[in-house]
Structures are given as structure tokens and as C-alpha cells.
């Protein structure tokens, strides 16, 4: 069956450390992988997109890697801040299904001062 899996347990880290979140998928061939942030009571907000032929993408303190052999993406937040506390969702864009965007369950990140 097709699945997208993210760390189900909340991730608690100290301010200033690097947070690393994992997204694994099975039985999909995504063209793109996206990461979103969701705060309580709000809709998800887009952060980064990485294509299937890209290994790594950076944006300010964020870094995403994409390994289509392992079927895994890692999302890193360096020099984390309490304001980074939120739920982070990975999403796959599946082209052979007409541009379908499918989300993982999300990982809750808590950054303590």
C-alpha cells in the first residue's frame, strides 16, 4: 500500500540546536516533495519544495534533502528558536495522478528556551 510516514512522536529540542525531521514514503513516485508548517488553529503554510532530481535545497535556516533511492526526505532547522515550535508536514506531489498533493501525518516540534 502507499504510505507517507513521519516521526509520530513529538520532537523536543533545546534552543540553538538543529532539529531534524524525517519523511519516508513507500509505493509512490513523487515528482516533488514539499514541506509545510502548521500552527494550531491555522492552515498549513508552504516552506520548501525539492524536485526528484535534486539532492538538497536550502532556505535561510532550513535545509531539505531528498533521496529517491531510500524514499526519504530529511528536514533540518538549524539554530532553532522557540518560534519554530509547530507541526511540520511533508507532502508528495504525484504527477501520474494528475498533480495530486498528499500529506504525511506531521511531526510536532517543540523548541525550549
Amino acid at each position: 500500500s502507499q504510505k507517507i510516514e513521519q516521526n509520530s512522536e513529538a520532537l523536543n529540542i533545546q534552543e540553538g540546536k538543529t532539529a531534524t525531521l524525517t519523511c519516508n514514503y513507500t509505493n509512490y513516485s513523487p515528482a516533488y516533495l514539499q514541506w509545510y508548517r502548521q500552527d494550531p488553529g491555522r492552515g498549513p503554510v508552504f516552506l520548501l519544495l525539492i524536485r526528484e532530481n535534486e539532492k538538497e535545497k536550502r532556505k535561510e535556516r532550513l535545509k531539505v534533502t531528498f533521496d529517491t533511492t531510500l524514499k526519504q526526505s530529511l528536514f533540518h532547522i538549524t539554530a532553532s528558536q522557540p518560534a519554530d515550535s509547530a507541526t511540520y508536514l511533508c507532502a508528495l506531489l504525484i504527477y501520474n495522478q494528475g498533480g495530486k498533493l498528499i500529506f504525511g501525518q506531521g511531526t510536532e516540534l517543540s523548541v525550549k528556551p
Partner: protein, 116 residues
């Protein structure tokens, strides 16, 4: 500033009643998604449209749910009859993607539905 607008923000209804949720996508966006979010299931894709045509609604219970785009500025999601298990937050998202171009999805604030 451009954003996806969903109405109503909150809806409490009795089991068996019809519920209609509305979404105004960002002007110029050609793709519209409907998602349902619960603690147990996360963000589930219910249906999506490109250029107002439905591409996939396999995530939707067909017997009670229906999704339409009467025009480019309005998408609707209807539940008839509603059941307590439909209680969730329903999100609409729009995007400007095509099969050749990457595109992010812009989400609305969601409609929190409670069926009692």
C-alpha cells in the same frame, strides 16, 4: 493580499442535516484541493480540481459527499446527510501548478465542523 477564503469558519450541526462549505481560491490559481484533518487520520485529500474539472475524488465518501466548482472563484464541498464521524477541520487549498511547473499549495483557515 491574496489568500484562500473559506466560509464558514465554524459550523455546528445536527446529524442528518446538510452542510455546505465554501472556498474562494486565490485569483488566477487553477488547482483547488479539499482536505479533511483529524487527529487520527491527519490531512486526508478528499478531492481536487484543475481548471474547474474534477481530477480525483476517490478520497471522498461518494454516498454523502460532493464537491463542485460552479465557477473559477468558488469551490463547494457538501455533506448530505452529515454524521458525527464527519466532525473535522476541512481545508481548501489552491495552487497555480501545471504538469510542467512546480507549485506550492496555499491553504485557507479551514472550516471546523462539529456534527452532534
Amino acid at each position: 493580499d491574496a489568500r484562500v477564503t473559506q466560509t464558514p469558519r465554524h459550523k455546528v450541526t445536527e446529524m442528518g442535516q446538510e452542510v455546505t462549505m465554501r472556498c474562494q481560491p486565490i485569483l488566477g490559481h487553477n488547482t483547488v484541493f479539499w482536505y479533511r484533518q483529524t487527529m487520527m487520520q491527519g490531512l486526508e485529500l478528499l478531492a481536487y480540481f484543475r481548471n474547474r474539472a474534477p481530477l480525483d475524488d476517490s478520497g471522498m465518501p461518494k454516498d454523502r459527499f460532493s464537491a463542485e466548482m460552479p465557477d473559477a472563484t468558488l469551490a463547494t464541498l457538501k455533506i448530505q446527510p452529515s454524521e458525527p464521524r464527519d466532525s473535522a477541520v476541512y481545508f481548501c487549498a489552491s495552487g497555480a501548478g501545471t504538469l510542467l511547473l512546480e507549485a506550492e499549495a496555499f491553504f485557507g483557515q479551514g472550516t471546523r465542523l462539529t456534527v452532534v
